[in-house]
Symmetry: C4
């Protein structure tokens, strides 16, 4: 069995495509952002990627139909400009070796499609609730850093201190070795919840960078829902603490 297989549904002819990655990770920020982009830009799936570096697992939809877990490539054709290739998926590779092999495989696939620029999307876990998430950046060159600063991205000294782990980092690192222009956009997030607000912050940068128009209604809806859950959890916790205190002195 091949370590990684790709099944093309279609081989789209794309003009100067830009690649965007949004796989599961901290706060699922990258995945939420990339999936929102898929919907808003009516992207079309053109390839399925399966691998033994993913969990040995199928997902089951509401009708009882199964699908082997994997990653998926989509494209968006745009008039008079650069087309888009968007990577989403159920999982990242389970092991470090798997991460390297998958990112290298994807790198080769998009080089074949003549991609010259990459955006990877992710969350930056800060361990506390964030009212207005900033978007932290990292890139392969100084000009890219300057360009991103103009769009509101921040590059604070010493952040992210631990570097960038996983596909969002690795695609940058491997892309740099291949001479690509690569940018990682990380939305600040608590890391405790799926975070649509952070995903929106990332997309607000990306829509300027890509020159697209996005509607954030559905993300805002999900953000409200998460806020309600977070708020309820906080109430329950405080209640529990109060009772505990009473019990202690009672």
């Amino acid at each position: 069995m091949e370590d990684i297989t790709i099944e093309f549904l279609e081989k789209p002819k794309l003009t100067n495509p830009i690649f965007i990655e949004g796989l599961p990770g901290v706060g699922n920020v990258g995945k939420l952002a990339a999936e929102h982009l898929l919907g808003e830009l009516e992207a079309k799936k053109f390839a399925d990627i399966y691998s033994k570096h993913f969990p040995p697992q199928v997902v089951v939809d509401d009708g009882g139909i199964i699908r082997l877990v994997g990653n998926q490539l989509h494209y968006v054709k745009r008039k008079g400009g650069q087309d888009l290739v968007i990577l989403v998926g159920d999982f990242q590779g389970l092991t470090p070796e798997g991460q390297y092999e998958l990112s290298d495989f994807i790198m080769n696939t998009i080089l074949d499609m003549n991609v010259k620029r990459i955006y990877t999307l992710g969350g930056y876990g800060v361990g506390r609730m964030i009212a207005t998430p900033r978007v932290i950046g990292a890139a392969t060159g100084d000009t890219l850093v300057k360009d991103m600063k103009k769009l509101g991205v921040v590059f604070p000294k010493g952040e992210p201190g631990a570097g960038i782990v996983g596909a969002s980092g690795l695609l940058l690192g491997l892309g740099k070795l291949r001479g690509l222009e690569c940018i990682c956009l990380m939305g600040e997030t608590s890391g405790y919840f799926v975070d649509p607000k952070s995903a929106q912050a990332v997309l607000e940068v990306l829509q300027k960078a890509l020159d697209v128009e996005l509607d954030f209604g559905s993300l805002e809806e999900r953000a409200k829902h998460i806020d309600q859950i977070a708020s309820k959890l906080k109430d329950v916790e405080e209640e529990a603490e109060r009772k505990e205190d009473l019990g202690y002195f009672g």
Copy 2:
């Protein structure tokens, strides 16, 4: 050393064989069901599968004779209908990669035998004791779902929420990519005990699907035995709790 080896004791000529998988898993439901099927239908072993993806281990029988752990393929010839190929074994693959390689190997083996339909059997852990286990289904297509519903299988929305992990899931996922008709039958089970009652529930569906007649006497016997153990454990626990409570206030 090969990652996986198969030793054929015999190369049976089978007519339109249906493949059935029952390996160890939650509540050992699939394994119990498949082994019961072996006994009831007087299946004959025709191949041993060994692999370094299994534990480095031998089992020892009551006479002191050892056997390397592995999986085994059996067949059942049936008059005027579809023959059966049944997979049982000591273990599933230990790692995700091992799971993929083993399922892919088995898929290739049964494709060589001209299998067109697969049933994988397993348990669905619900974390509480179940008096009358339902059989939850998942399949590769709508028609199969409809057929299974007629046999009493349920397909509740959002269940199994985490998808299907391991050989029972993977054989479905890989089978779908190869164009096979695949069905997973999962008996509800607490997950705390080996569960013959759940295995019987799965087999009651399967006997209708396969049009075979099964006697459940021995499974019912084992279920009673497990019920007694569970009931005793409950008594012991309650006793312990009672004593603890007395001590607390005494």
Copy 3:
């Protein structure tokens, strides 16, 4: 880099050699027994086995000189009978795959040397101190079981319940597939200490099986030493418990 390499210091010509394995494991019984055998029979090392399935580690001797960890093969020439090949080492393979590859490698090596019979030596952990350890057996055939019973080896029903894990089991399992006569001798041991007494019990069987004469002076010395340590630990524990009890009621 090769997964496993063997460096021959010598290619001894052996007559009908019997293979004996004694690697680290429960109570280090097998390793102690095999190393005692090396000394008593003045075995000669003829090969070093290195592998990336062992830890990435060197050992340092009292003079500060290092040696890469590995396994070692020794031989003993015997007049008018069967010569011996003895495997000892610093470690077993770290992963299941590594265990399979190493055992398969060793199997191929000893098949090249025309080995027909294998003894693997190990400990059988019972979780309590044992005054007079029995030797539990397992083998690849009924005749071997009968022969071993005559030498005092016991084959209790359902023991070892979990089978035999690691090189001692795997060499039996792989040897059976290759048509070799294989016997595992497991000395009962608490599993809490290195156990020279259990190693002696195993060797007392083996000296009859191999028709050799062994002196057990040094093993008995080590056993006394371990008994003293165990006894002191017990005193310390009981003292601690006594103090705790007093504190509780004081």
Copy 4:
């Protein structure tokens, strides 16, 4: 994807080069020492090593620019003597197999460069604060041990008891098999902190061995800083203990 790749920025012609390894490890002693050496001797980077045995990660510098993690080779040309090749890096291999493959790869690389002698640098964790760290040695031969003793290196019986794990050990073990003269220098360290003082102790031996002149000002500065942190932590701990004691009796 290759398991390990090396990218040469330059192929320096070196005279009888000596190889020095200083990768992250206990107290980061080896890494600190080797990096200090790089600065003091104005070493020049000539190769980058990337591998899927490293974490799937990029590091981000203060300007927001990323770099794939890896190891790096540097060289120092010296008048009329032996040139130096120095290995530093972000990580060691993550798995035992990865450690073996990386050390073997580096061994082949330096054999190509005609290296005959190796120094590996590391820390020896003793679990308590050390005022004046000794340098413990290990080597591939008696003459080397004698030479090192003259430079103040100690070879205490039974230390390091667990052998030497990781690149510092493995390069010695593999080097010995290839006929190289190899020496490991381990500075005693608590193991709780990054330890510049221990790195200095190692370098004080190495400067004599290599006949170079090193300034330790910056290392001493860092050592003071670490001492202050350690001292503050001790105060905080003692304070906490005092409060706890009061609470207990209060």
